[in-house]
Symmetry: C2
């Protein structure tokens, strides 16, 4: 039984803290790309796991997410036959991942949680991306931790255990906060506490992919970050 | 000539941002240790460079500063014949490095600089130490970078160049801010811009070790962080 409160909350970022789908679809619309904005956002994100899997398996050497995002962008521009962008425009579009918008509850919820806990990221995003995003969106992290620090992508155990060892804590003194059950399950296997956040719009208005069932391995199940703060008496 | 403003300011921490000597002397006094508080602070810090040099030379494997501080603490407790501390008390004393006080101008100066620049640490302190210190002292970092991320201690070039590559910047787009000329000289050799901060009390009231002469390799010479902010039009 995990009954005592954690000391550190480690947050998944893409989908849990920021709305990647809405931000990318809005950017595609703003740039007037000849493509359905939702399909464009979905395709870009769909390339993410296979690209990371190539790094995790050793097929690719360590590659940061900015560079993986660019590899995928080049592929989908080709698939959607978008040929109007210059090299500079492609670089700027790739940086949309540095400018993703937080969900409506995010900044308020994080500030509440920060009063009682040390709040950190645990994201596959690279440090520069996460720092630029935090500055742009006013995310008040106590520390930005990334796969880049541990040289392992989630769900490798080195990432979850790395948060605990960074603060000289036991795994159960750390809680992963995420909208994705596979991430939470991997954290639970490493002995961390877990909090699930409902983000039913993560994949846009047309794709309700999130499974909201209550799970044994989840310690807290919250509607959003304000709800999690309330459940943790913040 | 380095004439354009940098985009990222990377700060040395111990001595430049926080007052290690005053904080440690005050802790020795608070604990009523049978030792001159200034001598105790000086001895602890004097063990730091030799300990890091052992890691840099490969004599010790990668060891984080918390553990180096503990090695040195055990030595100086022995030297000063202090035998009254329990293991828990020693661990707590070692964590004084996580609770160092900022200089009087630090928080205001950093907040001014943060409006115009991305402000990060570049310290030999480990990530957990720097995060705890920032939370305790309200240091508003955009990103905490450490020797621990680069697996090299300053003044190894990997640290200075690592800040630039974290943000996909050229070295001259980064400025090191430090109270130590050897640190600034090493940054200059890597192509970074440099800002020197006067901290004549760094080594306590009895040891004015800081060399305040103007140097060719220093781009900005400031009385404190508020002065640096003024020179940079913040």
């Amino acid at each position: 039984m995990k009954t005592t409160k954690p000391k550190v909350l480690a947050f998944d970022v893409f989908g849990t803290v920021v709305d990647w789908h809405g931000s990318i679809a809005a950017e595609a619309k703003r740039l007037d790309l000849p493509v359905d904005p939702d399909a464009f956002a979905t395709a870009w994100r769909d390339g993410y796991r296979p690209a990371m899997a190539r790094v995790r398996s050793g097929d690719l050497p360590w590659t940061k997410i900015d560079d993986l995002h660019r590899l995928i962008l080049d592929q989908i521009l080709n698939t959607f036959q978008i040929t109007s962008l210059s090299e500079i425009e492609k670089q700027n579009l790739n940086r949309i991942w540095h400018r993703l918008s937080p969900w409506q509850d995010t900044v308020e919820g994080l500030n509440k949680l920060k009063r009682q806990f040390t709040i950190v990221t645990l994201s596959n995003g690279n440090l520069g991306l996460l720092a630029n995003m935090a500055k742009n969106a006013s995310l008040p992290w106590d520390l930005i931790l990334s796969a880049e620090v541990f040289r392992h992508y989630k769900p490798d155990p080195e990432t979850y255990l790395g948060v605990a060892s960074t603060f000289d804590l036991l795994p159960e003194e750390v809680m992963l906060v995420a909208a994705h059950k596979d991430d939470l399950m991997a954290a639970d296997r490493c002995g961390l506490q877990t909090a699930f956040i409902e983000r039913s719009l993560e994949f846009g208005p047309h794709f309700k992919r999130q499974d909201l069932h209550i799970e044994q391995f989840i310690n807290y199940h919250a509607k959003d970050l304000n709800d999690l703060a309330a459940q943790l008496d913040c």
